[in-house]
């Protein structure tokens, strides 16, 4: 396993008596983008500030490339990182001067600064704004300048604290795509804090879910999406269907789960009688018109359900389904929705692969 670039050990941050961050261990691996998601007040920004050596924890140790961070070496270590916040926080200078600020603080010569700043201004598409006062920029341009200010430093660790949350959706999407390309091409180790799971899964190689100051799950993005470890994680990674049920029968790595309104076959070693939560992502449920007779066949589960609510969801429709007392949520693309001619109160067949189900043990 690669040696961690940044390691946090036995970390505790408290504001007054209230613990806001309690992390036994967390490593940031070289070259990875670690996305940290969680609800408001989860401790994400505090974690980023601690990682960026901008806030001192009450307890715990921080190692940067295996060297322990102390008060004496904090500035030297901090200068190997760069932080970008939600607000661009530009100074009353030109775009160029703002982008060059970190290098100026490090005492670089004018030519060296220019050689480092210009390519990034071009790369981020703001070279034509170089002489403009930073205060005259749009939100998107300002955030690009803020990113340039960090990237010109060629940081070993880039820390991004919800850098897109204040931007309008088109600007955010464009900047997100640009950042994705930049991070892929440069391989800069990045910690990316966001409350938007789509951003996290788009950029993150690994995703950490934080809630109440504690790390609930950390793993590859795909694993978190399909195998959340708890109800809170499932909720936060967008597993909208969470149906309580009982394992009715189990054999050979497969089980049948009974819930109010039906049964579903799932993969995994469970014991009969076990209380579980059947989890499904909305995009894993497909809808079709009845009749459909072949229930639980070909690795598919099929349920008869009633459309409870239809909500336009960007380019999709979010369909809330009722199956007995159980609720399911499906996401249907606009063309399929128009084909099905769905209306609230309609009965239909909800299908999902056996492999798409995820089970969380309860109690």
């Amino acid at each position: 396993m690669a040696q961690a670039l940044l390691t946090l050990a036995e970390l505790l941050v408290r504001y007054g008596a209230r613990p806001v961050l309690k992390i036994p261990s967390l490593e940031v691996l070289p070259g990875e983008v670690l996305a940290v998601i969680g609800p408001n007040g989860a401790g994400k920004s505090t974690l980023l500030r601690v990682m960026g050596l901008l806030e001192q924890p009450e307890k715990g140790k921080i190692y940067f490339q295996e060297q322990e961070v102390s008060r004496d070496n904090a500035l030297v270590m901090r200068r190997r990182m760069a932080t970008v916040f939600r607000e661009p926080l530009l100074l009353h200078m030109t775009v160029y001067e703002n982008a060059a600020l970190g290098l100026t603080l490090r005492g670089l010569k004018r030519q060296s600064i220019e050689a480092k700043v210009k390519p990034w201004l071009e790369r981020l598409g703001i070279d034509h704004l170089a002489k403009r006062p930073a205060r005259s920029l749009s939100d998107g341009e300002a955030q690009r300048t803020s990113l340039a200010r960090a990237l010109t430093l060629d940081p070993e660790l880039l820390l991004l604290d919800e850098p897109f949350s204040a931007l309008d959706p088109p600007t955010r999407e464009k900047l997100l795509l640009d950042l994705q390309t930049i991070l892929r091409e440069t391989g800069i180790t990045t910690v990316f804090v966001t409350h938007d799971r789509n951003e996290a899964f788009m950029l993150g190689h690994r995703v950490a879910v934080l809630s109440g100051g504690e790390l609930l799950q950390l793993g590859p993005a795909a694993e978190l999406l399909s195998r959340p470890s708890s109800e809170i994680v499932a909720q936060f990674v967008g597993v909208e269907t969470q149906v309580p049920g009982i394992v009715e029968a189990a054999a050979s790595g497969r089980a049948m789960v009974r819930f109010d309104g039906g049964r579903a076959e799932v993969i995994g070693d469970y014991r009969a009688g076990e209380s579980v939560l059947l989890c499904l992502r909305p995009e894993d449920i497909s809808l079709s018109s009845p009749p459909e007779e072949h229930f639980q066949s070909n690795g598919q589960n099929h349920l008869t359900a009633k459309v409870a609510k239809i909500t336009p969801w960007g380019s999709h429709y979010r369909i809330a389904l009722e199956c007995g007392a159980s609720s399911f949520v499906a996401l249907v693309a606009r063309p399929s929705f128009l084909d099905l001619q769905l209306r609230e109160g309609d009965c239909l067949i909800a299908s999902f692969k056996v492999a798409a189900t995820h089970i969380i043990r309860r109690g």
Partner: protein, 237 residues
Amino acid sequence: MDLIWEGIREALRLILSRDPEILGITLLSLEVSGAATALSLMVGIPLGMALALTRFPGHGLLMALINTGMGLPPVVAGLFVWISLRRSGPFGFLELLYTPTAMVIAQIIIAFPIVAGLTMAAFQTLNPKLKLQLLGIGASRPQFLWLLCKEAKLPLLAAIMAGFGGVISEVGASMMVGGNIRGETRVLTTATVLETGKGNFDTAVALGLILLGLNFAVNLILTHIQQREQIRWPKPS
């Protein structure tokens, strides 16, 4: 109105003839108020920054005292300095009463709360997250403080202007601790009061106009520095 015109004519005559007494008074005014302002900046800016950026026991009380000091009547400042510096006062042994130094001390007491109070307000208007951002791109603590000063340049220059304006125009303190001694502690404000008392209204108006011109010239320079990097607001479409 005639008095004003006569005053303007007299002012021009005094300036053009380079009247040594008027020149001396003007230079002493500049020296005393300039020194008082400079020393007030050295005390007031760090104090204002400390009050804006940190918290310590007695912080609120000190803020209230500074804010009260911003409205300190010059004559009261002069009275305290006079009591302290008089022969039987605690600092009487320094023999500073009725010297330009005493005037500088009194003017510092007037100007430094103005500078500190306005500096405090200037730094409090800065985004508190700026500290994290600057440290987050590798600023050391002195660099961070310097950048904050640059960022607060506009209100800081306003603080300098207010401090200088407050002391160059005060008369009560200078009169009390300087004594308005001809050739030694006479400044533009005390000379204006004296000439008015003597009925030399044209000379008084001339001195007043020189004082105004001096104040205007200093503020013109500071305003130029303050406004040269200002962006222009777009015209409404």
